[in-house]
Amino acid sequence: MIRRTIMTGAAAAALFAGSLGAAGAQDTILLGAAAPQTGPLAGGATVTHWPAVRLWVQQTNEDGGLQVGDQQMTIELVEYDDQTNPQQAIQAAQRMATQDEVDFMVAPYSTGLNLAAAPIFAQLGYPMITGTAVTDQQPALAAQFPNMFFVLGRTSVMAEDTAQLLVDMRERGDLGDRVALVNVADAFGIEMAGISKAILEENGFEIVYETSYPLGTQDLAPVIDGARAAEADAFIAWSYPGDTFALTDQAIVQNFAPQVFFTAVATAFPAYQERFGDQIEGVLGMGGVNADDPAFQEFAQAHMEMAGQAPDYWASAATYAALEILGQAIEGAGTTDRAAVLEYLQDQSHEYATILGPVNFNENNDNERYWTVGQWQDGVFRGVASQGRDGVTEVETFDGWN
């Protein structure tokens, strides 16, 4: 009996020592990432999401990894394709957590996929720092998922800032009263058009042309035609990548050149510049960065070297910043224990140094300093309106397609 007890005790001690040894020997952090590599959003994710994630991992490892407590830990990335499918996004998160046993996970790409994956991140106890989720539901979401953080900002504020920019330009005497307001007919477009319309009307603008088109519409000539016939001074389109390109294309073909030309998502993409070259000087779009900030320039340079393409001038930096925040939280907590890291993130007094500038989270896990509107100026997409960010450039009048 005594012998058996001793044996059990010895076995337990051996196990304990073994587990300690295993924990001590671990010098890599497994980081899981699932985002679209196929499906409708694969194009956007390969511009914005994947290069930023891979770049951060590469750079962190080149610098010797993260300083966790008294240990230097490198990062190993595990990648999955979620096929732009919420079902697959959930399954991928579950698989990474329980099969690959990753230490941390990168939040997925796009608002919809981030929200679909939120419950599983919460349930598994992983911090979820989103770089590409724009919503207005931060308070409700943060209440339900205390592990979910938002870097990119609020949709309604972006619509407000865009409308406010027009108000300011008119005050300066650069803009008339007539606005053409169009939107892609889905939740995003409808919501944004609604908010900006209310503000514009409140400020005495006249909406001379208003229409919407279904997602995936190929021929947008009638929209540009309508706006031109209505003699609009400003053209605001709450558009998605495909229609952003198609609308710009048509405006150039028809030489429709109002004093303000605004298209929403993808205006900040490098592909937009590649496609239209110098013609887009003065075009406004959603997002923006402080293009003169050395931190951003360094990021853009490294991005170019690694991925062979420039980052977009909006969410690329936010995706990268989300990982910088995660890294700093792990270092700050001094452990890879997820609960401790989460606690560190939830402490509102912590501030993180990122390529976006300093970021901190409010009581809704929300970053209150972000870019809202940008403009192509001298071949660079500069932020012309922001919430609490330095380096805002003066907005210029659009002087036609060169």
């Binding site: 590599q37 196929t38 409708p40 990648e79 999955y80 394709d81 096929q83 499918n85 919420p86 079902q87 697959q88 959930i90 399954q91 991928a92 579950q94 698989r95 957590a97 329980t98 099969q99 608002t111 919809g112 929200l115 679909a116 939120a118 419950p119 599983i120 349930q123 598994l124 919503t135 539901q137 409700a140 979401l141 339900q144 007919a185 889905d186 939740a187 995003f188 409808i190 919501e191 609604g194 919407s212 279904p214 997602l215």
Partner: protein, 307 residues
Amino acid sequence: MTTREIRNFIIAAALLALCALLPVYGSPYWLTMGTTMAMFAVLATSWALFSGPTHYISLATAAFFGVGTFVTGLGFQSLPFWALPLIAAGIGAVLAALVGLVTLRLSGVYFVIFTLGLAEMVRQVVTWVQNQTGHRGMYVLTSITEREIYWMLVGLGALVYLLGWLIGRSRLGFALRIIGNDETVAKHLGIDTALAKVALFMVPGAVAAAVGAMLAPRYIYIEPATAFAPLLSFQVVIMALLGGTGRLWGPIAGVIPFTLLWEVITRQAPNQTLLLLGIAFLLIVYVLPGGFVGLWDRLRRRYGGQP
């Protein structure tokens, strides 16, 4: 009931219990996989109830499923959650009846095309309504867990099997088998073929809508593009045909290996999942015309046992 039927019932009940207890003995990973499997099992089995005997290939699953998710999206704040799948099922059945009345007089290929277009049409209508009303993206924030969704799906699955069994024994089921073999003969026998088809088409319509309503809390953010994704319709068809539609247990025999294989492919070669869909389809056409069920029956015939 014959002893054989009693035996089958006991086996079915035991299997059902085994499925229902998955959250107890399985890991969270398997619960997630199980939820996906249960979803496809319910969808494919109900799909096969109609498409099996009649040979009409319906690609409308995504349409009904999407309608269901929107029912939950619109109603979860004002109504108790248990009512939503019921309402969704009702709307799904009515929609199926309308579609059936219009299209089930058509033969084969016209029906396929129409059902494929249906999901897109409903999506555009929903989008148009949202646009007209200035409606915003829908957030379904509930406290419903994956485990509860899984149990709801298993419950619905049991219901579908029971219904399938009852239909198989009923006059309606008999009539549909005759229609499937030769519609002209069926008409000459005095069967109201249109009515029989419409009546049965309502079953997969109602079930798919109910499944959509149950899964909406899992998606949280509901937008037409994901709710009505056409891929779902094709997955259901492939899985059901892979398993075989000749027997009630056929579709699930396709769902389980297909979902596992899909998961393996996703892990090993993330870009090749659509290839799997294509290969499975070729396999069904060239090698397994009756699915696994057909194979099983062939093997049994060859190596003794009952015909």
